[in-house]
């Protein structure tokens, strides 16, 4: 099996996805090509129903496209083997992440690898500021807390690719910025981040690229200044940057996996 090497670099070419059959066929994605690189954040934006989520689900290996190619830099991957090749290296989260029956701690356990020490769960709870909620039923959490549980799961798994579908929808500015801060940890650690959002102005602190999808095509691709920082003084919010700055000191990934790819990626 061709595993994805880190830092991750994937090229998706001519992705096509349609739904329905016969006369009811509707093309969601028409010939989309894009790339994904470790340590960078890309925002996919567009109107509701334009195919943002479909694209993310395809990239996450959860949905098979009608056609398209993927290249890892070394190999061309068959779509049927794509998910297996991604293995533990990709994580996809819904707008409202699904919480399994059980406590927050139990939900984090599902992300744990056999080789990992269980102490990592305590560190993840601390990182996501969920220590006080560790024994709470996960299904009882608010939307923002669910997002943090999902990010804590990602923090444990240290994926090479993190795909988030509208992670800050329905969040107020404070919680959105807080989430951006958590996400910056992943970028700093070399994870390739793809975020779908209907609002093109969100995540501007952390994004390197922004692509607009219209009628199933990439109608705009914008390369932005890669700052990977969350203490942007020009933010249109009135929030005190101390919140952002304090969170900037969050712990990076818990074991040497991160140092492998972050160090290479920063070269």
């Amino acid at each position: 099996m061709n595993k994805i090497s880190r830092p991750v670099r994937l090229e998706y070419t001519n992705i096509v996805k349609t739904y329905g059959k016969g006369k009811n066929t509707k093309a969601i994605l028409n010939d989309i090509s894009l790339s994904l690189k470790g340590g960078e954040c890309t925002l996919i934006t567009g109107k509701n129903g334009c195919g943002k989520s479909t694209l993310l689900r395809i990239m996450g290996g959860l949905l098979k496209p009608d056609s398209g190619l993927i290249n890892t830099g070394l190999h061309n991957l068959n779509w049927n083997k794509y998910r297996k090749a991604l293995g533990n290296d990709v994580m996809y989260f819904y707008q409202e992440p699904y919480m399994f029956d059980g406590t927050v701690r139990q939900n984090l356990t599902y992300a744990l690898d056999k080789k990992q020490n269980k102490d990592i769960i305590d560190n993840a709870l601390k990182w996501a500021e969920l220590e006080h909620r560790s024994d709470t039923q996960a299904k009882c959490l608010s939307g923002g807390e669910r997002q943090r549980v999902a990010l804590a799961q990602a923090w444990i798994k240290q994926p090479a690719v993190l795909l988030l579908d509208e992670p800050t929808a329905n969040m107020d500015t404070e919680h959105r910025l807080r989430t951006e801060t958590f996400l910056s940890t992943f970028i700093d650690s070399g994870t390739a981040l793809y975020i779908a959002s209907h609002d093109p102005n969100h995540f501007h602190r952390i994004m390197n690229h922004r692509l607009l999808i219209e009628d199933g095509y990439v109608s705009e691709f914008e390369e932005l200044k890669a700052t990977n920082t969350v203490n942007d003084q020009n933010d249109d919010t009135l929030l005190n940057d101390s919140l952002l700055q304090s969170n900037k000191n969050v712990t990076l990934f818990p074991n040497n996996k991160s140092t492998n790819f972050s160090s290479q990626d920063n070269k």
Partner: protein
């Protein structure tokens, strides 16, 4: 004919006296039904899972077949297997007719559609997001399957209880395939049928008490499990 009350008292005395024949029949019943449910459990739950989460040609037809099989009477299942296992039948060489193995086969055939249909509906009842999230969290598809299975464990346990309740109380298939041989293939339902036809109501009621008690405890267990499962809904 004795009154129902005095017959019931005799039946209880028979049970408490530790009558070897009675307890042998009870033992055979539980042994055969437990083996049958254990064999059927794993493939049936897997099929239920596959029918719920994978789309393939013929999936709907399979679901319809399993749902139809729920309504097939035990005696028809018994008859079909009898024809297959009888000396002149295609599987006659196996010489399984009137053995405990034949009874196990009959009970598997009876509980399998129940387990498939109920586990399919259990897996369908949870959101697609659960399966996608399990896949994204788990290191491999097996771990993802177990995460989702844990999510529906109460419903699956309910399916097992329903399947067990169906096979331990069925008489048609056991009678035809087992032959009601004392100390070998005579189980609770076939013994009740036989003793009643002989006018030995006390033994029939004693065995009936065991079945009713079993049904009671299965129901209590089911309610307990369902109660455990009622956490805050998504």
């Amino acid at each position: 004919m004795q009154s129902l009350a005095s017959t019931t008292v005799d039946a209880v005395k028979l049970l408490l006296s530790g009558d070897a024949d009675i307890w042998n029949i009870i033992g055979i019943s539980f042994q055969i039904s437990t083996i049958a449910i254990l064999i059927a459990m794993v493939p049936a739950i897997l099929i239920g899972f596959i029918l719920a989460y994978y789309n393939f040609p013929g999936r709907r037809l399979l679901v319809s077949i399993f749902n139809t099989m729920l309504a097939v009477p035990a005696v028809v299942v018994g008859l079909t297997l009898y024809i297959l296992l009888s000396r002149q039948g295609p599987l006659g060489e196996w010489r399984l007719l009137f053995t405990q193995t034949a009874m196990v086969l009959g009970q598997i055939a009876l509980c399998f559609p129940i387990l498939v249909a109920m586990s399919h509906s259990a897996f369908q009842s949870i959101e697609k997001r659960a399966w996608d999230t399990a896949k994204t969290l788990a290191a491999n598809p097996f771990k993802a399957f177990f995460i989702v299975m844990r999510e529906v464990r109460f419903a699956l346990f309910g399916a097992l209880l329903a399947g067990y309740g169906r096979i331990i109380a069925e008489v048609g298939a056991s009678m035809m395939l087992g032959g009601n041989i004392l100390h070998y293939t005579r189980n609770i339902p076939t013994a009740i049928a036989l003793e009643t036809s002989k006018g030995e109501f006390a033994q029939g009621i004693a065995l009936g008490i065991i079945l009713i008690s079993l049904a009671f405890f299965l129901t209590i267990g089911l309610h307990y499990m369902q109660g455990k499962g009622t956490v805050v809904r998504d």
